[in-house]
């Protein structure tokens, strides 16, 4: 049989073999969605879609779930995970908006404004920022930024004002958003820079010839032409921000609390948690059926939102296709 392997293969057999290998990847993805859905089903069965809403105290619900045995009663599956959904949406939206602003202007800087020497430094810097593992961002956050915010920025009167409800230790909204923005910006910069470079410079020069000042020419012509890439960058960054679990679990304070904007400045310092971070924080209890099913339900929601994001990105880019610049 080995001799058969050594002799020249037929195209037919090779095509079948390679096709089977490719199909295996597709099968793995389908199996992934199916298995996560199966394990998440009990939560949906007992709560419908109401588990996304608010009501009740989430921490008591989750600790009650963790304490159940192998066959919990239906009431153990009760879940109102709105604080987590709210935390995820809040962190993701703010980080992506901030990151998009920073990314667009940094890309303009790298592609158009920077002198050659600075550009040669900036490009490896962006690559470096993109490849730093999230646990290192989390480590710097929890060992440097959180104590700094907790001790030097939050005043004791602010801590006292909410101490009946939640502890302000510095780990909270603003540290999480700051680090997450730094994490997702390099991804966006890479895509946007590539698109800016591929816009023909004659377009921009035409605008300058008409008397527009250089920066406005870039904003009005080059950035407009690179809009598909900006959309793609935003979609990619949102997917990354949604799925970030380890860094957020380290710096967000881990409390299942919804920060309230009414609290004023204290809102920035309140701890919160996201869907992905909660999965990491409570993964020890996954063998308890009620808690396990809730965690899988979070994972299913994340999967679903990643899918929705890519479809939304595709749909947003459709009307922008009339520009020739590749997105």
């Amino acid at each position: 049989m080995l001799k058969r392997l050594g002799s020249p293969w037929s195209d037919h057999r090779a095509e079948r073999l390679l096709g089977a290998v490719s199909l295996l990847v597709g099968v793995v993805v389908v199996v992934m969605v199916v298995f996560v859905a199966i394990h998440a089903w009990p939560t949906f069965q007992h709560n419908g879609l109401g588990w996304l809403g608010s009501g009740g105290n989430l921490s008591t619900q989750i600790s009650a779930m963790g304490a159940t045995n192998a066959h919990p009663p239906p009431s153990a599956y009760h879940l109102n995970a709105w604080p987590l959904v709210y935390g995820t949406l809040l962190i993701t939206a703010v980080s992506v908006v901030l990151g998009l602003l920073v990314a667009v202007f940094s890309s303009i800087f790298i592609v158009e404004l920077a002198p050659a020497r600075l550009r040669r430094i900036a490009i490896p810097v962006i690559r470096l920022l993109a490849s730093v593992p999230s646990v290192i961002y989390g480590l710097i956050g929890v060992l440097v930024l959180v104590p700094f915010v907790g001790n030097d920025i939050i005043t004791s009167s602010e801590k006292a004002s909410v101490q009946n409800v939640v502890q302000l230790t510095g780990a909270g909204l603003i540290v999480t958003v700051a680090i997450l923005t730094v994490m997702i910006t390099p991804i966006m910069i890479a895509l946007i820079c590539e698109a800016l470079v591929s816009v023909p410079s004659s377009w921009r020069e035409g605008a300058i010839a008409l008397g527009v000042n250089p920066l406005r020419a870039i904003l009005a012509v080059t950035i407009r032409a690179a809009r598909p890439a900006i959309v793609a960058a935003a979609v990619l960054a949102t997917a990354r921000a949604l799925g970030e679990a380890i860094m957020i679990s380290m710096v967000s304070g881990g409390s299942l609390f919804s920060p309230k904007p009414i609290d004023g400045v204290v809102f920035l310092f309140e701890p919160l948690s996201t869907l992905a971070a909660t999965i990491v924080n409570y993964h020890d209890g996954i063998s308890a059926p009620a808690l396990g099913s809730s965690l899988y339900a979070f994972a299913l929601l994340l999967l679903f939102s990643a899918f929705v994001l890519s479809v939304a990105g595709y749909l947003i880019k459709l009307p922008l296709r009339k520009y020739q610049v590749r997105g």
Partner: protein, 320 residues
């Protein structure tokens, strides 16, 4: 600016809004460089402060004092083993799929399904992939791949489980790099081989694969850097024992079925988010991790220099 010779418009004559935008662009660009420099310098400072050579070469041991609690040789070995398993599983899948998509690709609906699946895997958060790994490896069918408790529950956490999920993580960069390399090979090379009477598979083996060697190397390096930086899969799927605990007495299989830790989970556990007792060890391990990632980055840059785009930022999907 890149406007070429001629009178440039000085920012002093612009409107305030445009001047603000210019200032913001400069601040954003330089600010990112400053942040990156601060991260590297701070990690370097802390790492040099806390990293002792004996940490690299001694095994973790339970002990009351920091001095006695050993180093992180086991997590280092865990990272290496996971990387090995992940790359071993992912490379044939990635290269095979890329070859099929680029060279064959019929029927078209199947090709679209395969490409979309790989995009789905690329966009899936690593925590979801870790949960999927738990769901799969806790099936009784796969009980031999990990530890089975006396009550009949399959533990589901082992080096095999984590390595298999790591291969899923590493698959998209490898696939993208290989496919882009194959698509960049000019058609006349294939046509010359066909004209000489070679079959398609023979041209793949003898002509195409050798010419995309550097793309495959880039893809593998990117995959490796994703694997060693990943924490969520390790925390969920590797059993979180400080030392490597083989399961059963068979030499290699026991190790694969066993639990352990990796550099990333070691950093996580030693930071205040985990047990929290040893931020110095966490800094030291994080410094080692960062050094590995930087070296891998340099390797990608070297390999990709010949085939990068104009800016070199997205070398075969390096950042994405």
């Amino acid at each position: 600016m890149r406007s070429g010779p001629g009178r440039r418009s000085s920012p002093m004559t612009w409107r305030w809004g445009d001047r603000l935008a210019l200032a913001f662009a400069w601040t954003a660009g330089i600010g990112l460089c400053v942040i990156a420099g601060a991260i590297v310098l701070y990690m370097g400072y802390r790492g040099i402060e806390y990293l002792r050579p004996n940490l690299l070469f001694s095994r973790p041991a339970p002990g009351k004092l920091q001095r006695e609690s050993g180093g992180f040789l086991d997590p280092l070995f865990g990272t290496a083993l996971l990387t090995f398993i992940g790359v071993l599983l992912a490379t044939p899948l990635a290269v095979g799929s890329a070859l099929w998509i680029a060279e064959y690709g019929r029927p078209t609906w199947l090709a679209r399904i395969v490409e979309s699946s790989i995009e789905v895997v690329a966009g899936t958060p690593d925590i979801v992939i870790a949960l999927f790994g738990l769901a799969i490896f806790q099936l009784h069918l796969l009980a031999p791949l990990s530890f089975t408790a006396s009550g009949g529950g399959v533990f589901g956490r082992s080096f095999v489980a984590a390595g298999a999920m790591m291969s899923l993580i590493a698959l998209p960069p490898m696939f993208a790099a290989t496919r882009d390399g194959l698509q960049a090979v000019p058609m006349h090379m294939r046509e010359a081989a066909f004209a000489l009477g070679k079959t398609r598979i023979a041209t793949i083996r003898r002509v195409l694969l050798p010419s995309v060697r550097s793309n495959i190397a880039t893809g593998v390096t990117l995959g490796v850097s994703r694997i060693i930086g990943d924490t969520a899969i390790v925390v969920l799927l590797l059993g979180e024992t400080l030392r490597i605990e083989p399961q059963g007495s068979v030499p290699v299989l026991g190790l694969l079925r066993g639990t352990g830790s990796s550099l990333t989970s070691y950093v996580y556990e030693n930071s205040p988010a985990g047990e929290g007792a040893a931020p110095q060890k966490a800094y030291a391990a994080a410094f080692v991790l960062l050094v590995f990632v930087l070296i891998l980055n340099l390797i990608v840059e070297r390999i990709g220099r010949s085939q990068s785009d104009s800016l070199g930022l997205t070398v075969a999907g390096a950042v994405v």
